[in-house]
């Protein structure tokens, strides 16, 4: 220990002139506000910025310079023998010299920012690294890494032995493995896990560089070539093991199954309710969320490509519920391949196609899942999925370029396009005949505002467009003919659920907090109101059985933690029956869970999908109408 300290002290004294440079930089930072052109700024801010910038520049520069010189240059100049000709351990040489170099770097940084700190400033504040970890990383972590990396690079370059080939390969492999380890976590938006893995990878690198440097000094002593060999072997071996361990941990974080899931968040439900696309997180896996396609009726499941919770790239189901398709992962804006799976088999087998779709482009499946359509560069393309054959390609007129589209049936695609501002932003409606590629314009709707919501009835005969507006219902809801765009009527109350048998349901809250369920026919001729109570925070859960609507209310409005109770109302008889207590409507990330659904436009009744609920533990459960039981599907905190 005493020899380590002696070496440490010797190195400090030998390079103490660096502190004079730091003091000069501190003086420059203090005088910066006097420079012409900076008078308009607060002198304290100018001092903060300049002292922090100078401290970092000096600290990082010194770290690189000392890292490159303190061993590499002494080794190649044959001056390391001064230490090895004394009765000191090789490790003491490495630790003493490295610690002294880093102490000098840190002391230099402190010296530069000290006057600004004493003047009431905050180191790094103006550079956005004022607090906690960012500050420590910028002023301590980065210099350490730069010092160690410069040392390794200096030895490798100066020695220029055949090990340099291993070094180059190692750098590439380590970079690729590190990126491959980190990339899925970034893609899935797992911020904490990404930081942990990135930190672990950097820690692994630092550990490998420290170990490599120590072993190289101990084993190589004054021999540059031998030092290089020891450094390369140790560095890449340790890095391989540590990166491997980090990679294994990162893999474990993402490797869980639906059975491991505790928290579950739904993205979409198949029209038949037999499948859900869900994000799940598992205990001990940080904030990693895996995406699964999970059967609600049996134990089949499929892992889907990672993506962020906020991504719009949800899976697309065919209306018959027998096929699901999605985009493969890809880089940046490169087109991505379509993948699909047949959901009616015992084994789920993903099929990769060569059909490429730009990542920001939505696509739709035909009702039987045999065809897919998407618009790219004004061209509507329809492909056969199994044979990957182009069925038709149609150039769309300008007002239909950005259309929302869906298959009406196997032969017809409905387009809703937006006309230009000059044409009043009208919604243009057209049908494309798939076999012939003919475009048939069917009508238009006078333009709603930029942001609006749509819902369709099950026959795609009527549609509701709603948007925010001043008024008692905080918005406008107009019903139109879905084909011709003909205005039918303005609706009262909230945004409606379009139900089977030409009915729709909506909720209305009065000023005294009393909430009402309003059920009426699409033409408004029949109108029934049901009193739900005061302060019950009601939600509509969809038509879980034909003609019967799920309504969820707070079980006890005075005790929020009691959760909600779900009841089923027979829309014909007006009678109520309980479903379950302590449940909630499934929380879909981005899609409505019932009625005509968001961007995918399902127009069939989906009672099975409307029977999905979450229970008190957060698990996804299915209500069995025959037994009244809640059947666990996935998730839930025990």
């Amino acid at each position: 220990m005493s020899s380590t300290l002696a070496i440490f002290r010797r190195e400090l004294v030998a390079r103490r002139d660096l502190l004079l440079v730091a003091a000069a930089a501190a003086v420059i930072a203090i005088l910066m506000p006097l420079l012409p052109g900076l008078g308009a700024y607060d002198p304290a801010d100018v001092r903060d910025v300049s002292s922090s910038a100078l401290a970092l520049a000096l600290g990082w520069g010194l770290a690189i310079g000392l890292g490159a010189a303190i061993f590499g240059s002494d080794l190649s100049a044959g001056r390391l023998g001064f230490f090895f000709a004394r009765p000191v351990k090789g490790l003491a040489v490495w630790v003493g010299r490295s610690a002294a170099a880093l102490a000098l770097v840190f002391a230099t940084e402190v010296l530069v920012v000290l006057p600004a700190l004493l003047g009431g400033g905050s180191a790094g504040s103006s550079l956005g690294v004022a607090d906690g970890w960012p500050l420590a990383i910028a002023f301590l972590g980065v210099p350490v890494l730069l010092f160690l990396a410069a040392h390794a690079a200096s030895v490798m370059v100066r020695a220029r032995t055949a090990w340099l080939f291993l070094d180059l390969v190692g750098i590439v492999v380590a970079g690729v493995v590190g990126w491959v380890t980190l990339r899925p976590l970034l893609w899935m938006g797992a911020e904490s896990a990404s930081w942990v893995i990135a930190g672990a990878l950097l820690a692994a690198l630092v550990f490998a560089l420290v170990t490599g440097g120590a072993v190289a000094t101990v084993a190589g002593r004054c021999d540059l070539r031998r030092t290089h060999a020891a450094l390369s072997i140790t560095l890449w071996s340790v890095l391989a093991v540590t990166i491997g361990a980090v990679g294994a941990y990162a893999g474990w974080l993402q490797s869980f199954k639906p059975a491991d899931v505790d928290r579950v968040e739904l993205l979409s439900v198949s029209p038949t309710g037999e499948w859900v696309e869900a994000f799940g997180s598992a205990p001990g896996r940080l904030d990693v969320r895996c995406r699964f396609l999970i059967s609600t009726t049996d134990d089949r499941w499929l892992a889907l490509p990672h993506q962020a919770l906020w991504s719009w790239k949800t899976i697309v189901f065919s209306i018959d519920g027998r096929h699901a398709a999605w985009l493969a992962q890809g880089r940046g804006e490169e087109p991505r391949a379509i993948r699909y799976v047949a959901l009616d088999g015992l084994e789920l087998e993903t099929v990769s196609t060569k059909i490429l779709v730009p990542p920001g482009t939505g696509f739709e499946l035909s009702p039987d899942g045999t065809q897919m359509a998407f618009v790219e560069d004004e061209i509507l393309s329809v492909y056969e999925l199994t044979g990957e054959r182009l069925v038709t390609a149609v150039r769309l007129p300008e007002d239909l370029h950005g259309s929302t589209m869906f298959f009406l049936d196997g032969d017809t695609i409905r387009l809703y396009g937006r006309a230009s501002e000059r044409e009043g932003h009208a919604i243009r409606i057209a049908d494309v005949r798939v076999p012939s590629g003919e475009i048939v314009r069917t009508g238009e709707i006078a333009g709603p505002p930029d942001r609006f919501w749509t819902a369709f009835d099950s026959g795609v005969e009527n549609m509701v467009i709603g948007w925010r507006a001043e008024g008692p219902d905080h918005g406008m809801r107009n019903m139109y003919n879905a084909r011709s765009g003909e205005f039918i009527r303005t609706l009262a109350g909230g945004f409606p659920y379009l139900l089977s048998n030409g009915r729709m349901a909506t909720l209305r809250e009065e000023d005294d907090g009393r909430e009402w369920l309003i059920v009426e026919s699409l033409d408004g001729a029949q109108h029934t109101e049901y009193d739900l109570g005061v302060g019950v925070e009601a939600k509509l859960g969809g038509e879980a059985l034909p003609g019967e609507l799920v309504v969820l209310r707070l079980a006890d409005p005075s005790v929020w933690s009691e959760g909600r109770r779900a009841d089923l109302i027979d829309l014909d008889a007006g009678s109520w029956r309980p479903v379950a207590v302590g449940v909630d409507r499934v929380r879909a990330g981005f899609r409505w869970m019932s009625g005509a659904i968001g961007t995918s436009f399902w127009f069939v009744d989906q009672p099975a999908a409307d029977r999905l609920l979450t229970d008190r533990t957060g698990a996804l459960v299915r209500w069995d109408p025959d037994t009244g039981d809640l059947i666990h599907i996935v998730g839930g905190r025990n």
Binding site: G81, P87, R225
Partner: protein, 306 residues
């Protein structure tokens, strides 16, 4: 002091890739001896010294100092060894005073007073940066540094390299003084053969990594000499050649009516047999200097007559 071996090389081999710098060298340096390892540039002297200092690991064989493995036990060995490297390795910006402070902490037998007194004797300023000292002063600095740790073994790797005659003399005087005072064992490599002639007890000669000679200076000098004889018509050159075989002739030649030969195996018996075979009139038997012996051994690789 006893006669126990201080330095032992046992089949020492050093390879740099495909190049064998030191090839299976074995030698022993007993306590209190001055051993000079000689050789041309690139003969493997410095590689041998680096192995002795534990700064390079032997590719095969080994080097032991005080019975300890020079590589594995470097730290223990270095506590008893003073080193003057081929190229001064003292950090260039440091001064004698700072070096002294460092040495106090790392060298158990360090004597700071002795260090400064030696420097003063050499006329080396104690507050001058090392890189601003003259080459001679740097060597003297290194020697003072090595001697002031009261070493049992002094290893000097070509310590007079680049020094003028005066500086060389000063260095040797200091060395001789220390030997007289303490009887320190010395292992040195040098090209300054004249300088070490009066100091070295034993020499080794390396050529292309192999040890050609390893013997006391006295016996070496006794067996190497130059014979000069007058040419006699009665004695044919064949007889002379046959006679010279008893003396291990290294080189021979004729000039100005006299003929001579450098022999490496001179002995009374051998000389008697030479005279029997070739009854020439030997006019001169001249001992060779160490330098001449070295040149005779290493100067002409052909080793033939000239």
């Amino acid at each position: 002091m006893n006669d126990r071996a201080v330095v032992e090389l046992d089949g020492l081999t050093v390879r740099y890739g495909r190049l064998t710098a030191v090839d299976n060298v074995s030698l022993v340096v007993p306590n209190g001896l001055v051993y000079a390892l000689l050789g041309r540039n690139g003969s493997g002297k410095s590689s041998t010294v680096r192995c002795l200092l534990g700064q390079r690991r032997a590719s095969a064989g080994g080097a032991r100092i005080f019975g300890l493995d020079a590589w594995r036990d470097r730290r223990r060995v270095m506590a008893r060894v003073g080193v003057v490297p081929e190229n001064p390795d003292v950090p260039p910006t440091t001064t004698a005073e700072r070096v002294e402070r460092f040495m106090v902490s790392v060298t158990p037998r360090w004597n700071g007073q002795e260090f400064f007194s030696r420097l003063e004797g050499f006329g080396v300023p104690r507050r001058q940066r090392f890189d601003r000292l003259s080459k001679g002063q740097q060597r003297q600095f290194a020697l003072a540094l090595a001697l002031s740790s009261s070493p049992d073994l002094l290893i000097l790797d070509d310590p007079t390299l680049g020094l003028d005659a005066v500086a060389r003399r000063d260095l040797y005087e200091e060395l001789i003084g220390d030997l007289a005072d303490r009887g320190t064992t010395v292992f040195l490599t040098t090209h300054d053969l004249a300088g070490i002639e009066g100091i070295a007890d034993r020499v080794g000669v390396l050529q292309d990594g192999s040890l050609l000679v390893d013997e006391p200076v006295e016996t070496l000098k006794a067996r190497f000499c130059r014979l000069i004889w007058s040419e006699t018509p009665e004695v044919s050159s064949e007889r002379i050649d046959a006679g010279l075989q008893h003396l291990d002739v290294i080189a021979s030649g004729a000039a100005g009516g006299a003929t001579g030969a450098v022999v490496g195996g001179f002995s009374e018996i051998g000389f008697g047999r030479f005279r029997q075979e070739a009854p020439v009139e030997v006019t001169w038997i001249e001992p060779l200097s160490l330098e001449e012996i070295f040149i005779a051994l290493c100067g002409d690789e052909r080793g033939g007559r000239s």
